[in-house]
């Protein structure tokens, strides 16, 4: 993901803003890191450049 995405995403639980924490970057692309809700503190991982903004109870890889 690119940092510009921060303008349009929010916490899926309470719709508050997210803070971006970067672990690994490739040019403009944030490859690894996390998004942290400024209100509830929930942490959403960024893996292989894809932010996982599913609510925590839907995060399992397996289909429901």
């Amino acid at each position: 993901m690119r940092e510009s995405l921060m303008d349009i995403i929010c916490c899926p639980m309470d719709k508050h803003d997210l803070d971006l924490e970067i672990d690994e970057q490739d040019g403009d692309e944030i490859m690894e890191g996390r998004l942290v809700c400024t209100e509830c503190g929930e942490v959403y991982p960024i893996e292989d450049g894809i932010p996982n903004l599913l609510p925590p109870d839907m995060r399992d890889e397996a289909a429901a």
Binding site: M1, R2, L5, D7, I8, I9, C10, C11, P12, K15, Y44, D48, G49, I50, P51, N52, L53, L54, P55, M58, E61, A63, A64
Partner: protein, 232 residues
Amino acid sequence: MTRERDTGAGGSGGAEGPADSARDLASRRGMETSVYQPAEDSELLARAAVGHAEGRTLEVGTGSGWVAEQVASETAASVVASDVNPGACRQARERAERLRAESESGTGAESERTDAGFEVVRADLLAPFADEVFDTVLFNPPYLPTDPDNEWDDWMETALSGGESGRELIEPFLDDVGRVLAPGGEVLLLVSSLTGYEDVLAYAEARGFSHEVAVQESYPFETLSVVVFSQN
């Protein structure tokens, strides 16, 4: 998704007959069965979207990312694609990276665009998107009415099944999409006759949307429409 997997009445001779089950189709194409691949409905949505998408555009339930790619490469829109399925997100992102690399190297058809990629987000419908940020929202929903006793419980089920009514994803989408739309924004929703066309329109109308039909095509088992909704 012209697929009649319950009738078993496939094999009318066509290479990709609409009566084939998704699984038969996928296995004959030698594809995995966990990510929905472009079909007639995708093509119809892409055709309408290329004519309408502008500004910031979101494709919900992007699957392989094919529709998002068409919009990103054929329009000036800045495109975000989302899916609940991690395999779909990975395929969509590979597609986005390929597109971006082609546009940067100038070898692709869209060498005039400096940045023809798109963003991929794993999401449950519209949940992680902020208020009033999208000018266009596209959705080819899972819409096949499905007997609860006949669910497959895998990602392809998630991509195809709209629950008993066929509208179990369409309704929550329509409940929330007004929130993420910028003023004057539009929603392009693929609606199948199998899903109850009039029911979908009535549901949207009750939530303050007016509509017009962008494209409509009839297939042996269903009529597919791309309906443009705008807020009254």
